[in-house]
Symmetry: C2
């Protein structure tokens, strides 16, 4: 790769913009000796934050005069924001200047722009959003988390391939166990789409374990959970809502009386450890897979720790060459008989 | 109603059968002066457990020689188990002997049998599974939780009506706020089915609040969450899995060292209160709505407290005449312009 290990960072998007993105990216640069950074944004905002880092020959700045708004319609961003930090960061990947890009911007705009500029990996119809969730004993990779509300069996099979690559490359799992989300584990259950995908995945080159129900996301029994973007997005948001609800209820119960507050003090180290373990910031950095290039979406509200994690995901995917891995695994799966008839 | 307030209890189904169902039902009988019970099951199993309760003229026993197995296929249960406790409990509702029935049996078999025996409320195409989940400040009623993997806009509109009735009748909410689950809140997002349902619900006689994302299930902003049975079932199971995962992580962290264990002791009253507040047993008892009769499904693994809660749900729905309320609200909604064109 001519770009070596170079990550382009859209420094202007997200709720906190450059204030968070720049220091987070520099933190990862400091701890990753072979990494190069290209920081993209408005000079008057970014340059003061970069400061001495510009003397480092592993860090350079590229001017982008525009910014994609968080509520901008994807098609408008695509047509009208050709000088935005998001678009230029993606262009750098397309031009081979960078091997990955990271943005905390508007998901729809990032998806549409990345797809338009980079194009799809041959054999993959649509990009999917994939992320890792904490589970018993490790992580579970889940996709699609919202790029494709309507999916057919082709898409689901492609998601299974892409999820397997991410589980191997990012989490070092050799033959990732793949499960297809359904309303039950029996062959006769579910929609026509999942039944057709189930048939095609059974006996394929993937380590396919069959239908799984929603609770398997956290059980540690599988490494990759495949579902359509509607179900994936709704479940992910439902889980986020539940986690917030439980944490709110805990806070309420622990502050209900003076005695309870003393109990909370005594339990403080444990509660802190628990919070760290379940901290969603540690899992920030969703990949948009299926594109001819590595594109990582950080949560819009990401803080420094959280954005740094998204940059680390970009580094890992670039190092492993995820798009090429997808091509290879797809070829193997196709050769062993997963076909659409 | 000739049945007065009479609940038929399938005492043989579920993981624990009569050992749990009979004492749980008798507990609710003791605390509900106008309730009558019909306990359905095998005499040799049920009669010893009923004991002196048979002297109570509000409790009677009906023999059922057969039991539907937990893994029995719905169609087999329907065709071959005409003398099962499940079938006879449902028959009692159809015959007007009981105003509601409760079973901890196989969901698919209960749904198929209830639909065959009782038939649908006019204007409702399919039964849906509905339950209340704890949320900030109260409860959120959610449906469909798994009866219908494939749904069109007609079904979603009918679910909105049925969910509103349940929120009013069971939770005393006057104009329940209804949200339709989607991958975003903008009109342009989502599948064709949710977009069509959204259009029809907007401006209807329901208190429709528009599209909501998954985190709104717990936020207290809405009272009824409508979705298809695939998304509903997967999200519900995902939330159950997450709750178990968090509770497991808490236990691990609190027992990691002697110091942590002392912290846990000091925090014990709070942890107990938290556990009670989030106890899924308190929310047991899913309604199968849309049928011409009240049918309550208890969790298969329900313990006594949990099964008793399912019986209480049956009592409330029978008291309110949920099927009639659905007919009434559906007429109002249809009159104000929710139509399928």
């Amino acid at each position: 790769m001519t770009a070596g290990l170079t990550v382009a960072v859209d420094a202007m998007s997200g709720d906190h913009g450059a204030e968070v993105a720049v220091p987070a990216a520099l933190e990862v640069l400091a701890s990753t000796p072979d990494l190069r950074l290209i920081i993209v944004g408005r000079s008057e905002v970014v340059l003061p934050l970069l400061g001495a880092a510009l003397d480092n020959d592993r860090c350079r700045f590229v001017e982008a005069t525009d910014v994609v708004a968080m509520d901008e319609r994807p098609q408008d961003a695509l047509r009208r924001k050709k000088n935005s930090s998001m678009r230029i960061a993606i262009n750098l990947v397309e031009q081979g200047e960078a091997s990955a890009c990271v943005s905390a911007g508007n998901t729809g705009a990032l998806l549409a722009t990345a797809r338009f500029v980079l194009g799809m990996v041959p054999g993959i119809d649509r990009p999917a959003i994939v992320s890792a969730l904490p589970s018993t004993g490790g992580y579970t990779v889940m996709l699609d988390l919202g790029a494709n509300p309507d999916c057919n069996d082709d898409h689901l099979v492609q998601f299974a391939v892409m999820g397997s690559v991410i589980a191997s490359d990012l989490h070092g799992i050799e033959h990732p166990r793949v499960g297809l989300l359904n309303v039950g584990e029996e062959d006769i259950k579910g929609t026509e789409e999942v039944k057709a995908a189930h048939k095609r995945l059974t006996g394929s080159a993937l380590n396919y374990c069959g239908f799984v129900e929603g609770d398997k996301i956290f059980s540690g029994d599988i490494d990759v959970v495949v579902t359509d973007g509607f179900t994936g997005n709704v479940s992910l948001k439902a889980m986020e809502g539940l986690a917030r609800f439980i944490s709110g209820a805990m806070k309420e119960e622990f502050t209900r009386s003076a005695v309870r507050k003393i109990g909370a003090l005594a339990a403080a180290p444990t509660l802190k450890a628990l919070k760290e373990r379940l901290d969603p910031r540690a899992y920030n950095g969703a990949s948009m897979v299926g594109l001819q290039g590595v594109v990582i979406k950080s949560h819009g509200g990401a803080d420094r720790m959280s954005f740094a994690n998204a940059v680390r995901v970009a580094v890992m995917e670039a190092r492993n060459g995820v798009p090429d891995q997808i091509v290879d695994l797809l070829a193997k799966v196709t050769a062993t008989g997963v076909s659409s008839e």
